[in-house]
Amino acid sequence: MRYDLTQIESWIPEGSRVLDLGCGDGAFLNRLQETRRVQGMGLELDPENLIAATQRGVDILQQDMDQGLSNFPESSFDIVILAHALQVLHRPDKVLQDMVRIGREAIVTFPNFGHWRCRLHLGLNGRMPVSKDLPYHWYNTPNIHFCTVKDFEALCSDLNIAIMDRDIVSGPVAALFKQWLPNLFGSTAIFRIRACD
């Protein structure tokens, strides 16, 4: 399992109501149903994924996050997850606001564009980074809103969103430095957030 998902799982209380935005084939929600006994629901657009999630017994809604989430009532879920999808949204800020409205808590993971490899690539080559994790070119990438750990924290502050927890994924060597320089050494950022009281 991807590291960010392991971390998310550890933050999910037993029996909670979980909404997974961009749930893919439903494998992670299905796992949470088994390991955490959650009442899960997933949002997804891809028809093949809808079928795959349904085959796992996961409730799914075919809905486009970019069209808004206003049909979900306030506090209707304990936790709303957005794993590795922030960067594909048209308006990440609006979705984040909806997430902390719908969920008592929200968990967001995203690739950190402030990672030293990205900086090095752009700095030395003068070209947008292309890597194993981010294999697209600027013109065909679905990732239209990259941000860094610092950018995300600034946005949360602007939107009056409280950061409850932060975890940074990195390679084994960079792990030694990430606690001091997360924005430089973290490849994936994982945030637990909620609306400010």
């Binding site: 009442q39 629901m41 028809p47 809808l50 079928i51 349904t54 085959q55 017994g57 409730d59 799914i60 809604l61 075919q62 809905q63 049909n71 979900f72 009532p73 209707s76």
Partner: protein, 377 residues
Amino acid sequence: MSGAEEVGLVTPIREVFSENLALASGQTLAGFELITETYGQLNSQRSNAVLICHALSGNHHAAGRYNHSDPKPGWWDLHVGPGKAIDTNRFFVVSLNNIGGCDGSSGPNTMNPETQQPWGPNFPQVSVNDWVTTQAMLADRLGIDSWAAVVGGSLGGMQAIHWAVHYPERVRNCVALAAAPKLTAQNIAFNEIARQAILSDPDWLAGYYQQETVTPTRGLSLARMVGHLTYMSADGMSDRFGRDTREMPSDAINPGEMVFQVESYLRYQGKQFSTRFDANTYLLMTRALDRFDIAADFDDSLSDAMAATTCRMLITAFSSDWRFSPARSRELVDALLASGRPVSYAEIETDAGHDAFLLDEPRYTGLFTAWMQQVVI
């Protein structure tokens, strides 16, 4: 589809109910009959029963054939049978003709026991509520305490929703395909045009045509043409017919005339329908459809209605369906979300229009099948 994938030969069963049936309209039906079909085997716990609710022009014959030379299987044979979405290897499937119908259950074309005349226009107006009541009586008779699933498309989906809302303890899963919480003004308008087509036929005879051994076939045919048109999409029609023309055959009333394929198709559909369907039933069914409103018993709060459900729900809409558009299905979904109920929803990309729920679109069939496989029996 090969014969091996079908349920095989089926025989309708007649169920006679002698008790009085109090209808939602306030009228009473002194006994009634239901014509039904079943497919598959009821298990020993009686926990694997699935009810199929039919739409406007459907009936009890959902799957299988009546004899080896029967040219056509039942209306939902694509989705009911061994290994299909409603898998008869797992489920005991019950299908019936609703009262007010014209395929064997008590309705305008059956005898009124009091007068020994066909009911005709005097058959009481029935509603989705009444249909579900009689379906529940049928379940009692079959010893089915709760349905593993109640499934329907269009007007059938409305019955499935009514089941989930009004008999939550008797429905464990509900599938509503191409349905809506109630009709829009535009939708009612199409039904009204269809009704006026029937009422303006000189053979309508105020609904007493059966006694005169005539049928308002022209009105019925026109009603069906209007209806059928609204069940298709513009793109689907362009793909299928384009502007192609054909010469009418020698046995037509207009032999040799060049007509557009779409004209010929609609005339054929209308004609076929007018020979198999009853005009009084058409009026009655469309009125039941117009009057359906699942929120009416809940102070017009759709979310309060949905809060009464306890079952798992699958709501499915079809992208090119403009008669029961995806927006109407999403009203149901949003009301379920508002009341904290679980729900699955998919909008199937297709140009087949409203009738897509009858067809075999791979993504629809895949989803429907996957969902039914998760139904616990």
